[in-house]
């Protein structure tokens, strides 16, 4: 039967290991599979801002991913694909909208994965069912995977564009979120969390 110090060590070991895993996750999470929230209409999001309207306020900021700030495991084993993800698109406006999504200035292959509890047309990347004011799309999960060619992996700017959300009925741009994938200067964005 082990004595109390051994058991205490066991408890402390996994406790600290878990905290360490959280710290590590916050470190690589700033540049790997960055999660963000979206509101419509929010206009052009050129700096960190809080969008207020119907429903809860939404924090938004331009997305800047520094590939150099990814974890060493990622850089070593799977450097050629980087992803961003959202679980939140909220209509903070006063009228129902059918949201069309578009990535602007696509210079490298990008794969979309969309799941949601709202009718979605993958050909036009449009939610064909209106999102009501104050509502968020239920069970939303959208991942964008940037497939970075090896010859562009160390470019200063790998991708510079953004995500445009517009009203599918009128074509009006509701929200524009700039996205940059780059190497260097240490600027990063994102919460470092996931699924929150």
């Amino acid at each position: 039967m082990p004595n109390a110090p051994i058991i205490a060590f066991a408890v402390a070991f996994t406790f600290l290991l878990t905290l360490g895993a959280a710290v590590y996750a916050s470190d690589f999470g700033k540049a790997e599979m960055v999660h963000f929230r979206m509101a419509v209409p929010a206009g052009s999001v050129t700096s960190p801002t809080v969008i207020r309207g119907a429903g809860a306020p939404i924090e938004m900021a331009p997305i800047v991913i520094d590939l150099q700030q990814r974890g060493n495991l990622k850089k070593l084993l799977n450097p050629g694909v980087e992803g961003i993800s959202t679980h939140t698109i909220t209509n903070v406006g006063k009228k129902p909208v059918k949201i069309r999504m578009e990535l602007v200035n696509v210079t490298i292959p990008v794969r979309w994965e969309v799941s949601a509890n709202l009718l979605y047309d993958p050909d036009t990347r449009t939610f064909t069912e209106p999102l009501l004011p104050g509502e968020s799309i239920r069970n939303l999960g959208i991942d964008w995977f940037f497939q970075i060619p090896e010859e562009r992996l160390y470019d200063e700017i790998v991708y510079e564009g953004g995500l445009r959300l517009s009203d599918a009925d009128t074509g009006e741009v509701l929200t524009y979120l700039p996205i940059t994938v780059k190497n260097g200067d240490g600027l990063v964005s994102g919460s470092g969390g996931a699924c929150h």
Binding site: M1, P2, I6, I7, A8, F9, A10, V11, A12, F13, T14, F15, L16, L17, T18, L19, A21, A22, V23, Y24, A25, S26, F28, G29, E32, M33, R70, G71, N72, L73, K74, L77, N78, V81, E82, G83, R111, E113, S115, A116, N117, L118, L119, R138, N139, G141, F145, Q147, S191, G192, G193, A194, C195, H196
Partner: protein, 283 residues
Amino acid sequence: MTAIETIRKNRWRYLSLVLGFFLFVGPFAIIARMINTATGNMASPTLHTLCYRMPVDWLFGGRWYALIGSVAAAFIIGVIILAFFMGPVFCGWLCPVGSVSEGVSRATPLPDRFRLRIRDPQVTKGLRYGFFAGFIAVSVIVGYKIASISSVCCRYCTSSVLQNMADGLTGQMSAVAYWHSGSLVTLFSWLVIGGIFMSGGRGWCLFFCPLGVLSNLSHTAGKKLGLYRMSYNADKCLDCTHCQVTCPTWAIAPDKSVDSHLCITCQECTNSCPQGSYEYGRS
């Protein structure tokens, strides 16, 4: 006991574990599919639909309101209630995450001397509850924005890794194209360290699964009230240690008693004991 004998004696459990894969993992995900159909949800059902971890994270991170109406929360509450009355049968008989790592461990012809097994349940429990305390601490720190760290809930998600692998096996190769550092750590911890290099292949379940901890706490409470659990009869025991060798969660103490904080009621001990020293029941 030979591998064939083990499979024959535990055939119902292994069949149940295979069934669990089809019940919970997409593209089959039969239970999630039924729930989605019933609720009018058009999302593709996956292992994530009934997430094992996020409701626990919400609870301790101050987002308890997110539990209301959550299918995942209802699912894990059901698992915990089931564990109270019947023992952690979900862990032992249905969980696809545990069954895959256990299967990988059993299928890998690695000599036992290369596999870790902690003989004293007190130490195993210490490691297990240390993780759980850490999980709660991280949920509180992240949920209440006390410090800038990340949740361990989703960044180290076996459900993601398993679902992506299943998608890859069913033809969606894009699902296994992206790996972030957390998923690489998870894959290595779950299948390599916790699977191949831990006796029984349940290392992840023992040390990194919050639902497993909650199920065993519930089971321990139920056991105190005389509900279903594994019991040991010392009078029949020949001290052969077959039970200790076969137990995938190292729940059998040196005195052969079953520790309810670790037992997943898989009944491998019952089926391996030549004397019938172990029984599952209420008595």
